[in-house]
């Protein structure tokens, strides 16, 4: 077929109407939605599942949690039980991860340490969540002078070097799990507050907020029902990334002798005790706590990264 030449002003020749046969409509309704619409969360889940590294993190995390719960129960040995006749045994059928210099079972102690690490991590993230979300939500929603002063306070706390402050608090309050969590939360919540505030500042100008206000919605209700659900993505990412920081801090403090106290086991304590074995060659005493602490940090970090990508609306396809 030759395309009509448009240079001249001759009349274009179209085929006469009777040659056109209307195409039959398919019986199916054209308006029907072929694929199910994906909500924000469904789409995020779909994208997260596709991310292999993040899934690897999630699976190792689930395994770690299962082992933290059942590991100490499975083992016939007690965490603090010493058996000097069985000290420094290499891994074997009866002691899967070997024993330490006091004859304590490393397998039991490793999973007991997992409990402590996960507990500290999750608690720190939860406390950060509660304080940070309330503070950031109020600050962002109120705006103006309130926001200004609330953010100055955050700025000052944010500037505190957190590990120094944690060490200081540990000295004052005495070592212990509760102290670690309190100490971590004192500076930790500011990051969450900043994120929530930034989001709320943007969101509060949207029409759905205005609509709620028109219907007489109170500040509390608007923040809780309208603003926060829309901020959940960044909040979850921040929480996932807080956990490894807290776990690291606990291990670090235990390592320098300010964390969990002997005879109880935490990965930091075990690694610190095992330092002396470098020259004597009982590799299992350092290897197992070192491996599992690294695995936990790895799992939370890649899961957090994956969530960040999955929950970012800009990357949505």
């Amino acid at each position: 077929m030759v395309l009509p030449n448009r240079t001249g002003n001759e009349k274009r020749q179209f085929p006469p109407d009777e040659l056109f046969i209307p195409k039959k409509r398919k019986a199916r309704n054209a308006d029907a939605i072929v694929r199910p619409g994906l909500s924000y969360w469904q789409d995020a889940r779909r994208r997260l599942v596709k991310n292999k590294l993040a899934m690897a993190g999630l699976v190792s995390l689930i395994l770690l949690i299962i082992m933290a719960i059942f590991g100490p129960i499975l083992s016939p040995y007690e965490v603090t039980k010493q058996a000097l006749t069985e000290s420094n045994l290499p891994p074997s059928a009866s002691h899967w991860f070997g024993t330490d210099n006091l004859g304590r079972d490393v397998f039991t102690r490793t999973w007991y340490g997992a409990r402590i690490s996960l507990f500290v991590g999750v608690m720190a993230a939860l406390v950060d969540f509660v304080i940070g979300v309330i503070y950031g939500g109020i600050s962002g929603y109120k705006g103006g002078r309130t926001d200004h002063y609330m953010m100055r306070i955050v700025e000052i706390l944010y500037g505190l070097p957190y590990l120094l402050m944690v060490i200081l608090l540990m000295v004052v309050m005495g070592p212990g799990l509760l102290t670690i969590i309190v100490a971590l939360s004192i500076t930790g919540w500011t990051g969450m507050a900043r994120i929530v505030r930034g989001q709320v500042l943007q969101l509060k100008h949207y029409e759905f907020v205005l609509a709620s206000k028109t219907f007489g919605g109170k500040t509390r209700r608007i923040i809780r029902k309208h603003l926060l659900p829309n901020t959940m993505g960044p909040i979850i990412v921040q929480m996932t990334l807080t956990v490894p920081t807290a776990i690291f801090a606990e291990a670090f403090l235990s390592f320098i002798g300010l964390g969990v106290q002997a005879p109880y086991a935490s990965w930091g304590v075990m690694a610190s005790d095992a330092l002396s074995t470098i020259l004597t060659g009982q590799w299992w005493r350092l290897f197992f706590p070192a491996f599992f602490i690294s695995l936990t940090m790895f799992a939370f970090n890649v899961l957090g990264d994956g969530l960040q990508d999955a929950l970012d609306p800009k990357l949505r396809r």
Binding site: D147, G159, L160, P161, L163, L164, F252, I256
Partner: protein
């Protein structure tokens, strides 16, 4: 610009003051006095000692005395090592910590950025995966574990480098390496992701179309913009290196500031704990302040006096 710097300076001074105050009152809330451990001190001796260190005065009077001496950069005497002052401890230990810290920081910045660039240029290639695996390991393995592993493998098994103390540059390699792993990993990841973003920009295509060499494009056009996010986190990284240095110094038996700090905690040596905390915090906050200002100078898009609520 000046107004912004002034504002930031004031907020920095307030933060430092908060830290000094917090540290002071927290220290004095600790049960137990520094003289408890010496069993043989009788009451008169103890009273004299307490009078000497102003421990018998009202808490607020002590606070005033401390603030006044701080303003003259005097951190007071060490209670445990009575002949030395905190300033002397600082001047003895800090240069070593500073050397270790700056070597580690420099190494992590240079190789982190290089690794990030190569990973971005060979996106999804072998180098990319290798570099990112290294980065994930660097972030996941805590520095004290890294240090022990390095000692075990490099020093004990292979006998390549000395293990402990602080004598020659050979002694510096392992601790600096252990200290720099996690900042290196963070920098490499950040550089990579921002490089990837920048490389898709139109002005990079323009530069390529003009026939610039790949080297010039990367260094002059891409890197400049890609490094902005890296500069923002430098402050946090300095903090990580400083505190990480405590435990690294303990493991490698390096006579730096970290050692004094950890031992002062166990000894309840108030002036040393306070001095070290205040000194490190001030250093850190000052560095954060510098980073903020540098950022403002480097990136012309940043409005230095942000309107609030935006």
């Amino acid at each position: 610009m000046l107004k912004y710097i002034g504002k930031r300076f004031i907020s920095m001074m307030i933060t430092i003051w908060v830290i000094v105050t917090l540290t002071f009152f927290l220290m004095h809330a600790i049960p137990g006095s520094p003289f408890n451990q010496e069993r043989n001190t009788n009451d008169t001796v103890r009273k004299n000692l307490e009078a000497h260190y102003h421990l018998d005065e009202n808490l607020f009077v002590q606070y005033g005395i401390y603030l006044k001496s701080l303003l003259q950069f005097d951190f007071g005497p060490s209670i445990k090592q009575s002949s030395t002052s905190v300033n002397e401890l600082l001047s003895r230990g800090f240069p070593i910590s500073f050397e270790l810290g700056s070597v580690a920081l420099l190494f992590s910045i240079v190789s982190g950025i290089a690794l990030g660039i190569f990973a971005a240029l060979r996106h999804n290639g072998v180098i990319d995966y290798g570099a990112m695996t290294l980065a994930v390991i660097g972030i996941s393995v805590p520095n004290f574990i890294m240090a022990t592993l390095l000692i075990q493998v490099v020093a004990v098994d292979l006998k390549l480098l000395p293990v402990a103390t602080w004598a020659s540059y050979k002694h510096m390699i392992l601790p600096a390496l252990a200290l720099s792993m996690s900042p290196l990993a963070i920098i490499a990841r950040l550089t990579r992701s921002s490089m990837l973003e920048v490389l898709t920009q139109d002005y990079i295509r323009t530069a390529r179309a003009k026939g610039l060499s790949p080297f010039k494009i990367v260094v002059k056009h891409a890197l400049r913009n890609a490094l902005l996010p890296v500069i923002t986190i430098l402050g946090t990284l300095v903090a990580a290196v400083l505190t990480g240095s405590f435990v690294i110094e303990k493991i490698f038996a390096i006579p730096g500031m970290g050692q004094y700090f950890v031992s002062s905690i166990n000894d309840r040596d108030y002036p040393v704990i306070m001095g070290t905390t205040v000194f490190y915090s001030t250093l850190l906050i000052f560095l954060l302040f510098l980073v903020d200002i540098a950022y403002g100078i480097i990136d012309p898009r940043i409005k230095l006096h942000k309107k609030e609520g935006e």
